[in-house]
Symmetry: C2
Subunit: 203 residues, 2 copies
DNA sequence: TCCTTCACGTTGCAGGTGCAACGTAACGGA
DNA sequence: TCCGTTACGTTGCACCTGCAACGTGAAGGA
């Protein structure tokens, strides 16, 4: 065998280019040629590593899912673990913002591609179960059923992410909202720092 | 002047066709020709009523916003009003499911079109202010600051809608989650009906 | 009756799309 | 040294895209 190239590395390189294009110009602008240009390679090479465009899109989704998973460091404290899991789904820094834009784009994309939808669903359901389990493990039952609380937290971060990405909400407010709901989910006393100047009437 | 045609009616007809295409096949499949075919007219007529594709997209967004607004009936009870506002953002029936798919698609689209983003932002901020005001009007302070609660509720329904649309969550569970959080926001006793069989391990 | 004005329909174009087919250079085992 | 395999690069094709340009029929005021 010649050339000895790690295919997975190449595919990951291309997936990164795709994610950059998707985040900056939207999924509608993701084409073989744009991805190739972004990666600095020819369109032919992209075709060499992905037989079809859909295959490339799904691989890119796998890449981000794996990275989110990898960023999770084990924490003995259930609430801290859940919080770190949820916080990294919010677009609080430049990297998460890119991933957030990609996520929104993929949710729209999933509406027409059943296999993409299945992939997203699997991730969501897994996280929900994990969150519910940690809430139960925490021991202090709050006002919410753990399953309801987990469902709510997952949906909440999803919505907060969308609102922050759209510029509807300041990142700090998103974080404060998340923490307040974490308090409720974990049955700890609510300690909402006074919201800065959130009025809603000045726009 | 000949032919006497109501332009707004025609544009709305085309916008409806666009919304159907967007909901069923995704925003990537929204093209002048597809919209025209869905509406049963020629592409030339579409061009006659919208000088550019973007103009058509934004008009369609205005149409749904106006409809959501129009469906709101005044209710003296703050909580009932907020609930009816939020419930209609969930894809609980076929019509709302179409609108939900459109909304997700537009959120992705807004990432690249600043004017679309501005339109969405305006709606979100308006609703947030309205919800916060009603929570305050209700009188029984709950565990959450009204602004935080309003922000949370809006983000929650956004996320719940995404999860229901993706098949990650059953509509009933979404509704139960919303009601539980409404209880918290309005400071009323939590009355979560026992969740049916929400396990998360059966998918 | 004419003739302007509106409401479309038709045609065409330059560019982009996914993808198949084919070419080729280089490495490594035989 | 030969030769098969791998890793690309190149070319081409059928199709779709938004949009401009132009054509046409009818309605209604003059």
């Amino acid at each position: 065998m010649p050339k000895l190239v790690d295919p997975h590395e190449r595919r990951t390189l291309l997936a990164d280019a795709l994610l950059r294009v998707a985040a900056e110009r939207g999924l509608m602008d993701v084409s073989l040629r744009h991805v190739a240009a972004e990666a600095g390679v020819t369109a032919g090479m992209v075709q060499h590593y992905f037989r079809t465009k859909d295959e490339m899109m799904i691989f890119a989704l796998d890449v981000v899912a794996a990275r989110v998973q990898a960023r999770l460091e084990d924490d003995p404290d259930p609430r801290r673990l859940v919080r770190s899991l949820l916080v990294q789904l919010l677009p609080l820094d430049a990297d998460r913002e890119l991933e957030g834009r990609v996520a929104v784009a993929y949710h729209a994309y999933a509406a027409t591609r059943p296999d993409v939808a299945a992939r997203l669903r699997q991730d969501t359901i897994g996280m929900r179960a994990a969150v519910a389990e940690r809430i139960r493990a925490a021991g202090h039952p709050g006002p919410l059923d753990p399953d309801v609380a987990a469902t709510g937290l997952l949906a909440l971060v999803e919505g907060l992410a969308v609102h922050v990405l759209g510029g509807h909400l300041a990142p700090d407010d998103a974080l404060a909202t998340l923490d307040a709901h974490l308090d409720l989910a974990f049955g700890t006393p609510v300690s909402t720092p006074p919201p800065a100047a959130r009025s809603g009437s000045r726009a």
